[in-house]
């Protein structure tokens, strides 16, 4: 008599354990995703903080390039003040472009290129650019994993039950950062 009852009870327990496990897994993935998003923020802010120092260093050597300095400072201010995700992404791309032209300007000044301070700042900024792209990469990887998990069966049942929503990728909008278009024959 007890044996017949044990089987459905055992099954119920197993299903419950699986539900708990799947739910926890989704929570972990979502937290990882949000942490990755915060990381992107940290790197962007770091870039904002490094720029004034860079502009001052370059100004000391390249006094006549005021146009470029204006562009960079303006782009930086816009990036700091941008609020929505779309605006921020666009402002950051503009800032990346402005920084590239600033470094291009610096190429023409050999004294500047040998300056220790400038080299250290250049390294920090190049590294910050890399960190931004790597943290964006990791964020997109996390989004991919999370989205897949909430879509495959059977985890998608848990996802709809507990309202785990689809997340968007951090898209690249600037032209120069897209891959070279593939030639089709």
């Amino acid at each position: 008599m007890i044996m017949i009852l044990l089987i459905p009870i055992g099954l119920a327990v197993l299903v419950l354990l699986w539900i708990v496990g799947a739910y926890n897994g989704l929570i972990r993935l979502r937290n990882q995703l949000e942490n990755a998003w915060a990381q992107i923020d940290v790197q962007l802010k770091r870039r904002h903080d490094l720029i004034p120092n860079l502009v001052e260093t370059v100004k000391g050597y390249a006094k006549h390039e005021s146009g470029t300095f204006e562009k960079v400072t303006q782009a930086r201010n816009m990036a700091i003040n941008a609020k929505s995700v779309g605006d921020r992404a666009e402002a950051e791309n503009v800032l990346t472009g402005a920084l590239k032209s600033l470094f291009a300007v610096a190429e023409a000044y050999p004294d500047l290129k040998a300056n220790q301070n400038f080299l250290a700042l250049q390294e920090e900024l190049t590294s910050t650019e890399n960190k931004i792209s790597f943290s964006r990469q990791f964020y997109n990887d996390s989004v991919m994993t999370y989205n897949t998990h909430i879509q495959v069966f059977p985890t998608n049942l848990i996802a709809t039950m507990f309202n785990f929503g689809h997340r968007d990728f951090f898209e690249v909008k600037a032209e120069e950062e897209r891959e070279a278009p593939k030639v089709q024959f």
Partner: protein
Amino acid sequence: MWEQILANRRRSVVLIVGMAVILVLIGFAGGELIAPDAGVVGLLLALLIWGGMLIAYFTSAEDILMHGAFARELKREDSPQLFNVVDEMRLASGLDFMPRIYLIDDPAPNAFAIGRKPETSAIAVTTGLMYRLNRDELQGVIAHEIGHLKNRDVQFMTLAAVMLGTIIILSQIVTRSLWYGGRGRSRSESRGGSGGGQAQIIILIVGVLFLILGPIMAQLLYFACSRKREYLADASGAQFTRYPEGLASALEKISQAHIPLSFASKATAPMFIVNPLTAADEEDEPDSVFASHPPSRERIRILRAMTGASFADYEAAYRRAKGGALIGARTLQTASQEAIRQPSGGGPIQTRQDSHDIARRSAGYLRLRCNCGLEISVPEGYEQDSIRCFRCGSVLPIPSATDAPPSPQPMPPILTAAIPPVIPFAPMQFHRSAGGGWESFRCACGRTIQLSPAFDASQIRCESCGRTIAVT
């Protein structure tokens, strides 16, 4: 990769338990051999050794292994480029903690990672690696090592390395006491000490057992670290960097360097990115079950055959090259197609001279520049106040922290009577020259203190004696 993490956890448990069983058996057998009912003594001794190994592992595994590799910990200002390369990979891999970074002063290019858990993890690179590889290649190597960290390979390898190291040390102790005990044996026998003779036999047997056990453990280690994990770490590396050619080119340079690593032994060899013992002869790199690493040319071939940069692409290339499957289904389920990015270009992050400078600086050498242009590195134990330049003969004083005038702080007479006049250290100061580069000076206790170009605080604390030195 989930499958790898679970497998490594299982392996660690098996290793710890298996080690206990083997040691207990040998201890008991050894004890019984010496005297009847002494098996229990042998057993207890064996358990003591096993306990000691675990304590060593849980308290200071990384320090032990790094010390054995002559690696010195670096701070961010020693090499911001190296720290940035590792930091970028930390972000790309989603590692929660930044691993500590160590430098080994050796011309052979190689690297390894160790750690009991992510918070205590550490990565070591050689100077030979730093000045041979460009940024993309170095990043590929670091990504490979972080792949090991994420897959928990290093956890298992650290455990195995500590255990093996303990056995090797013990066997050396025992053989040494055997040697000296053997010399003294004739004397004690002539005095008729039969108890002394018994002790000799115990040591003899235990020593022989450890001598036998050592090489067997090394061989077991080779079997246990399946070469699969190297391929998996390569896959992780390619995924993190999105640039498999970086790692491929790095492996090429490392395996073709043909320089043996000075201190690597059979025990530590499996932990490196390329087996340091066989790297010297590339043709000898075998593709056998007994090798700790797959041959570099295989790894390079697979990396270069990748059409994308994700796990799925590595799996495809691996299947084409080797025929079998590598990556578990659960990981592949969430792998997508990832494009390979453009190379970032540029040369090595440090020149050969800079790499040596960094290594010497972290080893406590004090750098002096003579007026004739020669740079002299003074080791930390140097006791005199000055040194003669080798090239021009002029005498250079060793920069040291000098006594600063005590700050005038008048205290009410009542209090000065009540407080015992104990001044632990007289205040000291050091005046920096205006050059702006790295500067080193000597604390009163003899330790070399390095000031980086970025240092702009007004005081620094000596790590050996605790003195606070004002920097002006």
